[in-house]
Assembly symmetry: C3
Homo-oligomer: 373 residues x 3
C-alpha cells in the first residue's frame, strides 16, 4: 500500500519536487513509494543508505531514491534520485505524493454554520460540523466532518482541521496549522482550590513531609474557570486526541512551528515557544513556560510553574520537576542531565552486587577497627 | 483576551460576588480580568501577592483584585477588592465572569432523540447529538453538539456535557457533573483471559521470575464483557478525552465532588471516593479502590486491585504498585513515601562518585585483610 | 446494576452457554449477574473462590457461579454452575448476557454514505456517521453514531465500530475487530526533519552528551507525510480514544487477536504481532517491531526502532529503551529484567542508610590506610 497518483509522475518530475537531480530514465513513471524489497515495478523504492542495497535486489523497482554517492547502475536500476539528507528528501517526497484528506470543497449541506459565522468560498466544511456564531474561518481552511468550532473562534488561512476536533471559545489558531482527529483546543483548565488549605497544598509546601493533620472540615473543590482561551501560532500541529486547555485570564500559547504528537496534554496558561517537538503522550502542567526548539521524546511530563530554556532536549519518558537551563539534555524521573542519569542507572544496576561486596569488606573493616554503627 | 461581560460589571457588584468588601470607586465598570502588566483600563487586574505590585504600575488597570492588606491607594488604583485567599477568590471571580459554553437552549433541530428518550423543556441538546431510547435527561442539563447518550443512560439535573462526549449504556451521572469534550463514559473494560494460564499470568504469580516455558497451544484472549455500567456522583468533572470504563457486574464508581483531568483512564470496577483530584493522564487500573480526598499530580498510575486510603497524596508521575495507607504522601516509580523517595534519589545521584571512592577504599581494605570475593 | 435479559434465562441454559454442568434447579430463572453480597433473588451470584462464600450468605441469590468443588448445597443455594477456571467462565457468561450496543440495524437516515461507498444490507450505520466514497463495509458490520470512515477504507465483516471513531484513508481492518469510542486509526505519523541536523539529532547520536553548539540557522520542522495507512488483523480491539498512526510508505500493522486498551498510541510503521495485550496508555514509538503474545501493563512505553521478541511481559509503567529478547519479563525505567529491577529497587531503598554506614566505615579505613581520594 502506498501513495497513489492517478496516472503517476515522471521520475524527473519527482526529482524536481525534491530539488534534486535525476539520474537515468527521467521519463519513467512512478505511482508511489515503497520499501525496496516489496516495491513493484511502478514504485519508487526508498533506499536511503547502503544497508538497503541488498533489499533492492529482491524487489522489482526500476527507480529508487538513494543515498548520495550510490552507484544506481550497479544496483540495476533504470533511474534514480540521489539525495544527501534522506529524511529531508522523504519530507519533500511524501508531501509531493500525499493525495490529502480528500475533503470535498464547500460547505457540506448537513453542516451548521450559525448566524454570523464567516466562511470564505474556498474553505471546506465537512458533514455534521458546527461553526459557531461569529467564528471566523480563514481562506482555504479545510475542516473535516463532525468538527465543533465554538462561537467567536478564529481559524487562520490554510488550516487543516481533521474530523472530530473540538475548538472552544476564545481560541485563535494561526495560518496553516493542522489539528489531527479528535484534538480538543480550549477546554477548561484543571484548576481547583479548597476554601481552606488542603492537605495536598500543605504537603507540597512542606516538600512532602506527611501531615498528620485531620481531614479538613470542608474538602470541596472550587473550580477556577478558564476565561483566557488559547492562541496557537502558524504552522503548528496538534496530535490526534490531544488537549490544549484554555488559560485562566490570558491565553495558553503555542508558538509558530511547534509540533505536538497524539494524546498530549498542554495545561492552562502554558507558554510553548517556536519549533518545539513533543512526541506522544506529553504532558505539560499549568503555567509552565517552555523555550524555542525544545525536543521531547514520548511520554515526557513537565510539572507546573516551571521554566525550560531554549534547545532543551528530553529523552523519552523524562519527568521534569525543576527548571531546566537552555541547551540541557535531560533524562529520567526525576530528570537529570542525561550523562549523569545514565551513570546513575549503571551504578544502580551494579548496586546489589557491589553492596554485598562492599558490605562484606566494610564489615571486616569495621570489625578490625572496632567501630560500631 | 479575557472574559467579556457585555456592558461589564460595577466593581462593587464583583466584590459582592466574591463575598468581599469593595474599596474605593465601587461604580467603576470592569469588563474582564487580566494580568497586571497587560491590563487595560476596563480590566480588573489580578495581583494576588506583593510580587505583582510592580507589574500593576506598568499596566493601565484602574481596579484590581489584591492580597489582603494591600495599600491600593499607593498602587494608584481607583478601586480594589482585597481578599485573604487569592485562589479561592479567583474561583468565585472566574465563575462570575464566565459567559459559559453558549449552548443554545432547546433541542437543536438536527439532534436525534430516540423514542422514549426524556428531555425536559429547559434542557439544551446540541446539533447532531443522539439521545438513545429511554435515556433520562435531568432538568437544566446542557448537552453540546455531537454527543452520544446511549439508550437508558441517566444524566442528572444541571449536568454540562461538552461536545463529542460518549455516554454508554448503564451509565448514571449525578447532578451538576461536567464532562469535558470527548470524554468516554462506560466503554467496555479491558479484561481478558486465555483458556489456559498465560505466560503473563504465571510470571505475575511468580513475582517476575521469567518462565522458560513454551508458548501456550492456544494464546487467544477471551474478553470479559462489561455489564455493570458506571455510576458518577454529583459535582464531578471528567476531563477532555478521558475514559471511565464500565464495571463487569457492578458499576465503576466515582464519588461526589471528584475531579479528573484530561486524558485519564479509570478502569473497570474502580471505586473512587469523594473530593479527589487527579491531574492529567492519570491511570487507575481495574478494581482498585480509592478513598476520599486523594490528590494526584499528573501522569500518576495506580495498578489494579489495590486500595488507597483517604487523604493520600501522590506526587507527579507516581506509579503505585502496592496498597497505600490513609494520609501517606507518595512519590516515584515504584511509589515510596515522598521523604524516603527524595532521600533515595539524592543517594542515587551521589552514587557513582561514592561507589568509586568506596570501591577504592574497600579494595585497599580487602587487600589488607587478605579477603577475596 | 447488571446485565438485563428481558425475561431472563434458565440456569441450565446459562450453564450450557458456559460449557459447564448445571447443579440443582436448572429451571431457575436468572436475569443478570451480581456480586454475592448485593445479589438479588433473580441474580446469578458470582463467587469464584471460597473467599466469596461468606458474602453469599449475606446476599439473596438462589443460584451462583462457583469454584470447582464448591458444596453448593451447604451454601444454601437452589442451583449452581461449577467451573474450573473462573475468569474464563466469566468471559463466556458476560458474552452470553451482554445485550450489545443496541445499534439499530440499517443505515440511519441522517448518515452520509458518499457515492461509491458499499454497505451491505445487514450492516448498521449510526446517526451522523460519514462513510467516504469507495469505502467497503463488510457483512454484519455495526457502526455507531458520529463515526468517520475515510474514502477507500475497508472494514471487515462483523466489525463493531463504536461512536466517534475516526478511520482514515488507506486503512484496512480485519473481521470482527472492535474499535471503542473515539479511537483514531490512520492519522498522520509524527515524523519531522530539519533541513540541517538538529540539536536533538546530534544529542541522540552522541548518546546524550550535551552539545554546546549554537542554535541552527533554520530550526523549522519539515513533516514526513504518512502514505502507508494501517492494516489491522482480525479479532483485534483498539481502546477508547486510542490512536494508531499511519505508516510512511508501508502500513502500520497490528496482528490478529491483539488487544490494546484506552488512550494508547501506536506510532507510524509499528508492527505488532498476534495475541498481544497492551493495557491503558501504552505508547509504542515509530517503526518498533513487537512479537506475538507480548503482554504489557498500563502506561508502558517502548522507544522507536526497537524489536521485542515473542512472549515478552512488561510490568506496569515499564519504559523500554533497548531491544528485548523473546520471553523476558521486564520492568522499570529504563526496563530491566524484573528480578534484577526488584533487587535494584530494594538496594536503592536501603541505599541512604547503607551509604551513611559504609561511608563512615570507609572513612575510618581510609584514614587508617593513609589513602587520599
Amino acid at each position: 500500500m502506498s501513495g497513489t497518483a492517478g496516472a503517476g509522475w515522471r521520475l524527473a518530475e519527482v526529482a524536481a519536487a525534491l530539488g534534486a537531480g535525476c539520474e537515468g530514465a527521467g521519463d519513467l513513471i512512478v505511482t508511489g513509494a515503497a520499501e525496496p524489497a516489496t516495491a513493484g515495478p511502478d514504485d519508487l523504492a526508498i533506499a536511503l543508505s547502503p544497508a538497503w542495497a541488498e533489499a533492492l535486489g529482491r524487489g522489482r523497482a526500476r527507480a529508487a531514491l538513494l543515498w548520495a554517492g550510490a552507484d544506481w547502475r550497479a544496483l540495476r536500476l533504470q533511474g534514480a534520485i540521489l539525495v544527501p539528507r534522506g529524511r529531508l528528501a522523504m519530507a519533500h517526497l511524501t508531501r509531493f505524493m500525499d493525495p490529502g484528506p480528500g475533503f470535498a470543497p464547500g460547505i457540506h449541506p448537513s453542516a451548521v454554520v450559525e448566524g454570523g459565522g464567516e466562511v470564505p468560498p474556498d474553505a471546506a466544511i465537512g458533514a455534521f460540523s458546527v461553526i459557531g456564531a461569529g467564528a471566523r474561518i480563514g481562506a482555504g481552511v479545510r475542516i473535516g466532518p463532525q468538527v465543533t468550532v465554538a462561537p467567536g473562534a478564529v481559524i487562520g488561512a490554510g488550516c487543516l482541521i481533521h474530523a472530530g476536533c473540538r475548538i472552544g471559545p476564545r481560541v485563535a489558531i494561526g495560518a496553516r496549522t493542522i489539528l489531527h482527529p479528535g484534538a480538543v483546543i480550549g477546554a477548561d483548565g484543571f484548576s481547583f482550590v479548597t476554601a481552606e488549605p488542603s492537605r495536598a497544598e500543605i504537603a507540597r509546601a512542606r516538600l512532602g513531609a506527611g501531615p498528620d493533620m485531620p481531614a479538613p472540615e470542608d474538602a470541596r473543590w472550587h473550580r477556577i474557570h478558564s476565561l483566557g482561551g488559547v492562541e496557537i501560532g502558524e504552522d503548528v500541529e496538534i496530535g490526534a486526541n490531544s488537549c490544549v486547555d484554555a488559560g485562566t485570564i490570558r491565553p495558553t500559547r503555542i508558538g509558530r512551528g511547534t509540533r505536538i504528537d497524539n494524546l498530549s496534554q498542554v495545561g492552562h496558561n502554558v507558554v510553548i515557544g517556536e519549533d518545539c517537538l513533543f512526541a506522544a503522550q506529553a504532558a505539560i502542567a499549568g503555567s509552565t513556560v517552555i523555550g524555542n526548539r525544545v525536543v521531547a521524546g514520548g511520554k515526557c511530563g513537565i510539572a507546573d510553574n516551571l521554566t525550560l530554556g531554549d534547545d532543551v532536549v528530553l529523552g523519552g519518558a523524562t519527568i521534569v520537576l525543576a527548571n531546566v537551563p537552555a541547551g540541557r539534555v535531560m533524562m529520567g524521573y526525576p530528570a537529570m542531565p542525561m550523562a549523569a542519569q545514565i551513570e546513575s542507572y549503571k551504578a544502580l544496576r551494579r548496586l546489589p552486587r557491589i553492596l554485598r561486596r562492599i558490605a562484606g569488606a566494610a564489615d571486616r573493616s569495621v570489625s578490625k577497627s572496632g567501630g560500631t554503627d
